[in-house]
């Protein structure tokens, strides 16, 4: 593991074991997040994005979730062997999370200031006045006036609530910020404000970020590197430039074809035919093969390996990477 790596996820497999079926949510995912970078996980509903992020925080509901295989290292420390007390120290302090829906992430009967304060009190030994000052500081950083400390969540609009959730996540200056669809519940103009603010604060504090989204537009504007997730596997991974300028995997190409864009003139979209496979009943071979236009015989038999196509641009596809899984296409 290099000096520069903050999080290293290796061959992660997470299943939800239900009484009559096993939902294979994450199937052998490996990636690194470097210090200071924004790493994007993009995929559709049910791709396993949120399960991966909850795994990093070890917040998976167990049962039914079970880590079958793999490891997650944070700053060289294995998350899965840490004690519960160690995890409590990590969460909210060194790793924190912004959830999708700000309306349900806040406690309606506590003032927003006190909710943020709670995080400071848990992790830092400060006097009451110092702790409060920290809260004021972060509130102003996210663009909320310090006078609103004593107000309750319902007195804020959706965009403002999300700012409070972000303040809460950043108040202890974590090394890793996990943002799970942070702007999906917001209007576009507010989304633009919030994304802009997250970017600024992230750069100011030097935080690394794991950004989870289904929106390829947001990824393009915020991420350094991206992994495209399909049915619990990374199908393509690389720098944002590699993914957008030199798209390799048929699924990624399909996603680009399906997004309505403001620039193109065409009046018709190219959808990806069919549906996401049921994670309790995954197809044999490549998981994307039933929907893939370039599907070959081998794709239905064998699972393609994730192959380096040069300069760290990884792709999981026989049609693109060749049958031997070697790096010449």
């Amino acid at each position: 593991m290099s000096e520069n790596t903050l999080v290293s996820v290796k061959n992660l497999r997470i299943h939800y074991c239900l009484h009559n079926s096993t939902v294979k949510a994450v199937n052998g995912v490996s990636f690194d997040i470097r210090k200071g970078e924004t790493f994007g996980l993009v995929g559709e509903t049910g791709a396993g994005k949120t399960t991966i992020s909850l795994g990093i925080l070890r917040l998976l509901p167990d049962p039914p979730a079970r880590v079958i295989e793999g490891s997650i290292e944070f700053n060289g420390k294995n998350i899965f062997t840490a004690t519960e007390a160690e995890m409590r120290d990590l969460r909210g302090d060194q790793i924190s999370m912004i959830f999708q829906d700000p309306m349900t992430a806040l406690n309606p009967i506590e003032t927003v200031g006190d909710q943020i304060l709670e995080c400071v009190e848990l992790h830092q030994k400060l006097s009451a006045a110092e702790a409060r000052e920290k809260v004021y500081e972060i509130l102003e950083m996210v663009g909320i006036h310090r006078e609103r400390y004593e107000e309750y969540p319902h007195q804020f609009s959706g965009g403002m609530k999300q700012r409070i959730v972000i303040a809460m996540a950043l108040v202890c200056r974590p090394e890793l910020l996990i943002a799970d669809e942070p702007t999906t519940a917001l209007d576009v103009t507010i989304q633009a404000q919030v994304l802009d603010m997250i970017q600024k604060i992230k750069n100011e504090l030097g935080t690394s970020m794991l950004l989870i989204t289904h929106d390829l537009g947001i990824i393009a504007e915020t991420c350094d590197r991206v992994a495209v997730v399909y049915a619990g596997q990374i199908v393509e991974m690389g720098t944002t430039e590699q993914i957008y300028e030199n798209t390799l995997h048929p699924y990624t190409n399909g996603l680009f074809g399906a997004i309505p864009s403001l620039d193109t003139k065409s009046r018709r979209l190219v959808p990806i035919e069919g549906l996401m496979p049921d994670p309790a009943n995954l197809p044999k071979g490549c998981y994307f093969s039933p929907r893939c236009s370039r599907c070959m015989e081998i794709c239905r038999q064998q699972e393609p390996p994730l192959t380096d196509m040069g300069e760290g641009h990884m792709c999981r596809c026989f049609a693109v990477c060749g049958k031997g899984g070697t790096a010449d296409a």
């Binding site: 965009g159 300028e245 309505p260 549906l275």
Partner: protein
């Protein structure tokens, strides 16, 4: 009514106010537009701008406070309930959320047949129509006895579409029909709506917060802000020359899935102000980058900047 011949639907000075404990909420405030047969008007705006209320008022699902709605030349605000029931067969709606708009205890078959049953169509005839309706929206026959919870969002939305099409309507209000769906599925549903329009000459009012989705479907686009039209134009013209500061900001806020085209983002100040007892003056003024003294005192009227392209802004119309 000069445009009545061509327009399938024409709305004049439509208003819908709600009385709330804190005052009068101006949800829809003096809206005018018309849609020619077989075309689509896209209504765009952020949450709370009154676009869904507009959709419901246009179908007379909500009584309007003031104004007139002409459907095929007939003012539907004036007709009695019996006549309205007849008209409703020709005007339908597709709802946003395919998860909550379908009765979980009905099978697919029962959901699609329900409106036909209500209209007194005999069982034998309904059974005949069902396979055809399901085929039209691309639902497999074998799903007829499934329940909504067994289906994914895209298929559920197809049920909603089949139900809306049961009477072969002329006009359909689509209220954010794809916003709850994943992109790959969203594209399937958008294409279905386009195909249906082509085959049946349907007229749509397409309500969405997503400009890029609206662009794919609309001939004409109306941008709403706090119950009012700020800009209305042919679709191509609007994207080529967005004129109102709000439209420009809205367009620039959409994240572009490309690393090459980095665009200058216009960041708006603040958030939507309250539609309750709105202050005089332009409603967008508190967030506008170009607002002048006059914008806070007088309300700008829609004025034409080029043929068929109207904008409500003092600074845009010279």
């Amino acid at each position: 009514m000069p445009d009545q011949e061509k327009a399938l639907l024409e709305v004049q000075h439509l208003k819908k106010y709600f009385q709330t404990p804190r005052g009068t909420l101006h949800a829809v405030d003096d809206i005018n537009f018309s849609i020619p047969k077989g075309q689509t008007i896209g209504v765009v705006g952020e949450s709370g701008c009154g676009k869904s209320t507009l959709g419901r008022v246009v179908l007379h699902l909500l009584d309007s406070t003031d104004g007139r709605i002409f459907f095929k030349g007939e003012d539907i605000t004036q007709v009695d309930n019996r006549k309205l029931r007849e008209l409703r067969k020709q005007m339908q709606i597709i709802f946003q959320d395919p998860y909550s708009s379908l009765d979980p205890r009905f099978t697919v078959k029962a959901i699609i047949e329900e409106p036909l049953e209500n209209a007194g169509i005999p069982r034998a005839k309904r059974r005949e129509m069902l396979p055809e309706l399901m085929a039209t929206v691309g639902l497999a026959d074998r799903l007829a006895d499934s329940y909504p919870h067994e289906l994914d969002g895209g298929r559920r939305q197809r049920i909603g579409i089949a139900r809306a099409l049961a009477f072969n309507p002329d006009f359909v209000v689509c209220d954010e029909p794809v916003s709850a769906l994943d992109v790959s599925i969203q594209a399937q549903v958008i294409n279905l709506l386009l195909d249906l329009q082509e085959q049946r000459g349907l007229t749509y009012m397409f309500i969405s917060h997503d400009l890029s989705v609206v662009k794919y479907l609309s001939h004409k686009i109306m941008v709403m802000y706090l119950g009012q039209t700020v800009e209305i134009s042919e679709s191509d013209e609007l994207f080529a020359h967005p004129t109102h500061p709000y439209t420009q900001a809205l367009l620039s806020a959409v994240p572009v899935p490309s690393v090459k085209k980095k665009k200058e983002r216009i960041l708006l100040k603040g958030e939507l102000t309250s539609p309750i007892n709105p202050k005089p003056g332009c409603r967008f003024a508190p967030r506008c980058l170009y607002a002048t003294e006059r914008c806070f005192q007088e309300q700008p009227a829609l004025a034409e900047v080029s043929p068929g392209h109207s904008v409500a802004c003092f600074n845009c119309v010279k």
